[in-house]
Homo-oligomer: 450 residues x 2
Amino acid sequence: MTSSPEPSSRPAEPPVRRRDTRLDNYVDRYAVRTHGMTASAIRALFAVANRPEVVSLAGGMPNITDLPLDVVGSSLQRLVLDDGRVAMQYGSGQGEPMLREAICEVMGLEGIAAHPDDVTVTVGSQQGLDLVTRLFCDPGDVVLCEAPSYVGALGVFRAYQCEVRHVGMDAEGLSPQALREALEVLRQQGKRVKFLYTIPSFHNPAGVTQSEQRRREILAIAREADLLLIEDNPYGLLGFDHEPLPTLRSLDSELVIYLGTFSKTFAPGFRIGWVLAPHAVREKLVLAQESATLCPPVFSQFAVAAYLRDHDWRGQIKVFREMYRERRDAMIAGLADHLPAGCTWNTPAGGFFVWVGLPAGLDAQAMLPRAVTARVAYVPGTAFYTDGFGSRFMRLSYCYPTPERIIEGTRRLGEVLNREAALHETFGTVGPADPAGPALPYQAPRPNQS
Amino acid sequence: MTSSPEPSSRPAEPPVRRRDTRLDNYVDRYAVRTHGMTASAIRALFAVANRPEVVSLAGGMPNITDLPLDVVGSSLQRLVLDDGRVAMQYGSGQGEPMLREAICEVMGLEGIAAHPDDVTVTVGSQQGLDLVTRLFCDPGDVVLCEAPSYVGALGVFRAYQCEVRHVGMDAEGLSPQALREALEVLRQQGKRVKFLYTIPSFHNPAGVTQSEQRRREILAIAREADLLLIEDNPYGLLGFDHEPLPTLRSLDSELVIYLGTFSKTFAPGFRIGWVLAPHAVREKLVLAQESATLCPPVFSQFAVAAYLRDHDWRGQIKVFREMYRERRDAMIAGLADHLPAGCTWNTPAGGFFVWVGLPAGLDAQAMLPRAVTARVAYVPGTAFYTDGFGSRFMRLSYCYPTPERIIEGTRRLGEVLNREAALHETFGTVGPADPAGPALPYQAPRPNQS
């Protein structure tokens, strides 16, 4: 079982477990929040999906094969010899000043003017989201998320016992009208929203990007409603078509708390992300970080800073961008060639993910075991909702497998879908009825295939 | 302001802050837990204490100058070249299997027989404690701690809105009688204890160690009361006198959750600790870790594993032990030479800390600014209590400064205390009355000086 952020192709651990059948003697001692922590039903399946013969279009792991290992290796050796006794010591709870300065330089590429003093380093942006939620959310507090939203964020909100309300999206991302409606419903219910969590660029899992106009509309609503926004931007620098769009944070520094990470532009294994937050929030974040970890990994911070100093990291991001563009192209071509009629998808302009809609009657979660048997894996859309929606959708990722494997994966997926469709025609019982509700799953507006 | 785990001698950040006087516009949005997160009053003072002219006996930073930087540097370079694409990638939420195997070998030195499957890697043992508390504690839940207890643990319990009850100690650590009484009082109040947090070996801050007999008594009470124990053991391998005593976990694998760390036996900057927990708890811990960070720092895990493989780490621990023993000896000699009559302290058999009691009428917290002015720093005893006790005590650490600096520090401290005592004799108003309550501060049983 690999428990990386998302199902991945890392070697699975030995499947033999001891005492698997033992009862949990501690169950009556757990906190209320712990009873909501259960391993997902698809977890076991992904252990199988990690086998090399399976093409996994499920994982969210970046492809870091292009990183210059010789440069990083020498850089880290020199780091240990020159600064080892500082880099291996405890550090600042807020994060090392020289890294926070470099982070401001990185954010500058997306139009953000920030002071290093307002940056808090975190254990990946996942921990940034955990700490922000810790600061703001009591059990029962309402958090708004896109429909669909990042599975790891939904896990954090569940851990803090938040009530998640999904807000609909369209081809330009989060829908302003849906946001207004959601706020109005909550106002009528007398519930206050603690924040809106959004991924404006190259959305995970929906693959869409908020236009600049859309961003300004969302911010106008936020200002009117005094709504705090959490902007999660792991993929912003990995766009294929043009310069990055202005981040929400670059347009408003008071209502936006910004989450960044080096996981996709450098490497995830150092676990270095950050939160850029208004000063008062930043002070609380540092106290929360000290309570959570004393300080984020110091050696990792020095390692990332050394990489940024010793390597052409801007050039490296361009290399990554071209590599992911090629994979995106392979996937879109593969989908057009192999997916049956009635499927829909969008063409992401960056990032890692394509969001695929299935014909009526098919159920992505129900068919997953059959797909894995056919040696292809994906994440069913239901993972990205807290409310049971998404069964007619799946997230495909093109970040990790080679273009050839991606195309082979879409071919296998097409076969599975054709069989499912045939079954459905014959028996009419393969999938559940289409979901309907306040926040319908995002559906690509133009079926790319008739 | 350095925000390492404890006041340290790392260079302070530039004191110039922007918008320091701005009001907190977010204050009415915070969670209830966040209102309890406030920077300690002594924090600003420690920024001053970090100046080189001040002898800081306040910090808990290990002295890692003896680490072989050439070995570590080459080891990490080879790691990047050989395994860089795995070590810099996402990893398992539970932690890397090869490191968990090595952790079991390390724990074997303290009598623990464990399976790697029951180990969860954490961002230092601080995060271990955070995750364990997250699993078990709802707001208002009662947690038992020693009197005094580790300041970082008290911070975690506060962050989870626990009710901390202190349990008295004597020269052999946590008092069984005090524990029985505390349990009885809580039983009468109808309150259930979620767990007892204890540091059996070389206690932080009290410096005492539970004898083997004492450990068995505590476990017997725990079994009778069905009380879960959290054993925090950062210093267990750093004893000066004999082989490590059996850990609580080696005597009971069902009621003890064990926290370990490489921060004191190797280096804290990698932020690698671990939790050894019964299987059912471990499963929840991994889910909590995934929610908190996706996975603990992968590169750090590979780095620690490479160090354990490439270096005589057992020999290195012996080197550390001798180095700390010499510093302990310097501190005890300095205290005997310089502290005024009426002071008490114990002679720790390992670890980093000496717990000093002051003569009646003196207040360690009130006199701290005067001590820092006299260029010596310590942590006032009140930091180690949640209930206001401890004002007549201070924690001195001998881990970081050289023996010469330690002796100079005790000399300066002696001067300060003499002046305080003279003031008290003249005016009688220097300190508060002696505290009294259910869990009196631990006081060394034999004054080491008349």
